[in-house]
Assembly symmetry: C2
Homo-oligomer: 279 residues x 2
């Protein structure tokens, strides 16, 4: 498995690095970014927080806008940000921001033409962590977080793989995609019309079926323009309460769906994950 | 003077806001961004740090990538980020990233076709602060900072208006533009071939002529790909030493020209300005 370093920037004493590699499960060339804190240059192995971005993003948005390096450097945690879909001119796409490239929804597509490349679930759960853990000075302790479509991805990945993650968090996650416009459009295209097959990628449904869950934190802005129609945070909250699962959900007055919201609370998310990653 | 709010994002308890207004000195519609810390919503007047960005930037880059809101919120300092040139389809432009729109160099152009709009010096020194101070809950205490072309702008503005600023700082500034490629190209186009007229916009020359200066801080990455050819930090340093002016210049091992460098040291710059802004 060849992997090529494409850029390096020193950041808070550590290193922000981008890599290009051929993904077997996605059947295309992919980019990802990793922030390696200073501790990783000093012979120490550090735990990893995986970050899944939202619609239209690449590996760059979170690394450039969240400000997470400040605290990742202090706490000694590596941050890995994959792209949000398979990429390339041979990869199926659509003329809309919420389907196709930039909108992989962290699932394994079963429908033509998407099933040739769109296997972001397997990429995030299997291929990418294996590559990270065999390439960089990291431990096998993982947590996962994300924003919007990536918040959905983080919750789904943690719910289906509770043994593999220490903790999960999300900003403004799509909590119940089976019944909301972004989710219905993407799931119909990628997974087909049989809604029984959508259940594996719906955090609210997975949570209601779950017997086990990892510590979870959700932040949701109350001025988020997508809250009412697309996110349905209250569904996740009701199920968590009913089942007595430990999900801390914070509603934040005045905050919207942007990175200005994420950067305002990223410190509290990383401190939350650190409690479990550094145990 | 009409001014229109075009977007609002809550950030670290304060507000990031963008505005559009007609600039009289630039003779076009302009955008700027302001971060108002929480103290400004509580009836307090806060001092202002002006930030001048580098080539190709708009008001957005610094606000999205620097992470300054974290500490501006804590310290109670407003941040104002103007655009880097006049803008619009009627505004002269060039087919290169280092001349025309996005490359105003914070000067008053005297040459056709640039002199119709390119008066960024007057905009930054006069029109914008007057607009800010008459519109927002701010004091008349100002400091100024910037990056690359904007570091050049900040140093020039502070050197020529020492009474109007409490302090100045710069990341990776173009320190001696009269003798380096970016500066020579821009100055020749905007100011003409007579190099005597370039002196007013060259920080190294202004510093060697100065009798007074404000407290100044410069950070420069040693892995900066532009350091040797474009920036000439060592010239500024020699003159400052010769004249015994209080400029603190920090060379940072391994850091490049990017926002990953700026965000790593922005806290130290804001703490530096706070010493003088909050006196």
């Amino acid at each position: 498995m060849s992997i090529e370093n494409t850029s390096v920037n020193k950041s808070f004493g550590g290193w922000h690095k981008r890599y290009s590699h051929h993904s077997k499960v996605l059947n295309c060339q992919m980019q990802f970014a990793i922030y390696l804190p200073p501790q990783a240059s000093n012979g120490e192995k550090v735990p990893v927080l995986y970050w899944l971005s939202g619609l239209t993003c690449t590996d760059e948005n979170f690394m450039q806008k969240s400000g997470i390096q400040l605290l990742a450097s202090e706490l000694g945690i590596a941050i890995v940000a994959p792209d949000t879909s398979p990429r390339g001119k041979d990869v199926a796409d659509a003329d809309s921001y919420d389907l196709g490239q930039g909108a992989g929804f962290y699932l394994n597509a079963t429908q033509e033409p998407w099933n040739k490349h769109y296997h972001m679930y397997d990429y995030v759960v299997e291929e990418l962590p294996a590559l990270i853990e065999s390439t960089f000075p990291v431990t096998d302790k993982r947590s996962i977080s994300g924003h919007s479509m990536g918040g959905h991805g983080a919750l789904v990945v943690a719910l289906r793989n509770a043994a593999a993650y220490q903790s999960v968090s999300a900003f403004s996650p799509i909590c119940h995609p089976s019944i909301t416009p972004w989710g219905k459009k993407a799931f119909a295209a990628y997974l087909g019309r049989d809604k029984a097959l959508w259940r594996d990628y719906d955090a609210s449904i997975l949570l209601s079926d779950a017997t086990d869950f990892v510590p979870a934190l959700v932040d949701q802005g109350l001025a988020d323009e997508f809250l009412k129609e697309q996110l349905k945070t209250e569904h996740l909250q009701s199920i968590a309460k009913l089942k007595d699962f430990p999900i801390q959900i914070n509603y934040r007055e005045g905050y919207d769906h942007s990175y200005y919201f994420i950067s305002s609370f990223i410190e509290s998310h990383l401190r939350f994950h650190a409690k479990y990653l550094k145990k």
